[in-house]
């Protein structure tokens, strides 16, 4: 049931997205002086997206819900993954200010303590250990530049 609902929602989103692609593409030239214009290819892509999304909507509505054998999507588990993703995005936002090393340590601590419910000391140890390893391998040995914070690492 949930998967069918998921299919329906995703197909509807894709259909709306297809309409957006068509609307942007229709503002670009379909034909230019030298041949097909910049709007030519995206317009047909948008039409394809809307058409196949419509097929998926139709298939989701037509198929009986009990045919689906896949695992249902649960909000509890999805919430944990989304919390992990938000933490990652926050760490990326901090990369420019705090630098790679500190942002990475904070992200690791969040993963281990908040999501995995393990001791803070272990999380700090893993985070600092990995950050030092990255610094030694990539920055010192391979001369790869990483984002640095106010303190230079």
């Amino acid at each position: 049931m949930m998967r069918n609902k998921g299919n329906l929602v995703s197909a509807t989103c894709l259909a709306v997205f297809g309409v957006y692609v068509i609307s942007v593409a229709s503002k670009l030239a379909y034909v230019s002086e030298v041949g097909p214009g910049p709007g030519f290819f995206p317009l047909w892509l948008g039409i394809g997206l809307v058409s196949f999304a419509a097929c998926l909507i139709f298939a989701s509505l037509a198929s009986p819900a009990n045919q689906d054998k896949a695992d249902p999507i649960t909000w509890k588990t999805t919430g944990r993954a989304l919390a992990g993703w938000l933490a990652l995005m926050l760490a990326i936002a901090l990369l420019g200010r705090l630098g790679f090393a500190l942002s990475f340590v904070l992200l690791t601590i969040f993963f281990i303590v908040a999501l995995d419910r393990r001791p803070v000391l272990l999380a700090v140890g893993v985070g600092v250990g990995l950050a030092v390893a990255f610094q030694l391998i990539f920055v010192t040995a391979l001369d790869v530049s990483l984002p640095t914070g106010f303190w230079g690492f």
Binding site: P42, L56, A59, T77, W85, F111, L122, V144, P147
Partner: protein
Amino acid sequence: MDALSNLLLGFSVALTPVNLFWCLVGVILGTMVGVLPGLGPAATIAMLLPLTLKMDHTTAIIALAGIFYGARYGGSTTSILLNIPGESSSVVTCLDGYQMARKGRAGAALGISAIASFIAGTVGVLGLMLIAPPLARFALRFAPPEYFALMVLGLAMVVFLAGESMVKALLAMLIGLWIATIGTDLFTAESRFTFGQTKLLGGVDFIAATVGIFAIGEVLVNLESQGGAEIFKIAKGLRNLLPTLQDLKDCRFAFLNGSIVGFFVGALPGAGATVASFMSYGIEKAFSRHPEKFGTGVIEGVAAPEGANNADAGGALVPLLTLGIPGGNTTAILLGGLILWGYKPGPLLIQEHPELFWGLVASMYIGNVLLLVLNLPLVPLFAQILRLPYYVLYPLIVGISIVGVYSVNNSLFDVWMMGFFGLLGYLMRKLDFPAAALILGMVLGDSLERALRQSLMMSQGDLMILVNRPISATLLLIAAMILCLPAARKVRSWRVEAIERES
């Protein structure tokens, strides 16, 4: 006999201590840059090119070519162990390689990858040695309509990447094609779908997208379960870490398929190793006796694309050395090097500088052996990474992903993109959309649109140009047949069901 005596000349050049040493340095460097996502062979060769100016030119090309094909060996390692494609051509390896790792067969996957790379790499060199000039002339017959047909054939491989739903695979592919349109239109310089972001004018970085979808998406899926779920089974004993005789037997066709497809696609300028790896995977699945198992950790699903992306290295040198046409970024830099050293790559290069061409060919044989000898003993060592507890492994994957993506352009924007693609990869997994189909669309989108628009310019808008030419018509016909396969299978299963009901 000519080829044999020339090859002997080549070995006399390649086996000198100094050339052997630089061949070894090249393949080791190549393997290292292949393992790390983002740090590709093109950037490495570009960085090292100035250092080669004072070297003997044959030695220099041997070292640089070693980096080129060595990177193809290394690209599979992180794909198999961490689901992070080290190279764009290793994206397909993630599909079955990572699943093999999850089932405790990481060592077998890494081993078969090294063996397939060795076999296909050697076949690629044989092809370069024996059929380079005629093949290069054939490749020149590829005009935009033929390239369009080739790209359509590549897209038809979506049939083999689809899981339960063909419609979902096609939708994912269309999203990939749309992502490829983001940026500045090459023909009119008009910006498309950039959402007002100047950093999107150059398009979406491929490495950021693939690392996000595969690596970050995988981490997010695994974050769902709290504490201690065993993610990887680890095989015990050194013997179980390498491919078995049965594995090698199962991969016979995959070795052949990867070698041939990789070499011929590589010889076409602009097609590239990524296309070759997708095509060989599709062919492998099409002819497999158990196509339904692909994507769940089938060893042929690793051998075919890994073979293809290594045979491609030999193929890519065909137009470079015989016509002076580079097929991709790395060969373009190699061409720059040849010109810098005073050579004129073209039809006369082999005759005028036999020591350079045949020395390179012979060094590639030696390089492939060195890579196998270096890589096989490293398999058990690499496989140990999976023994790390998952609370170390996931931060490690995220850290490598950030470093790999950032190091490509030193751009935080690319890291943001990786994050967004990570969420997309997660949602695609949850909703059962095949991520590989999206990547296929992204890889081929730009070339497909360019070839189509150039073809229509040539014909002044007449679509018949795509089917009036024999090569493009043949390729399109094959693509149409592949696209009809799922329908044919469905009809067949309905018939079987109907017969069973009647009886």
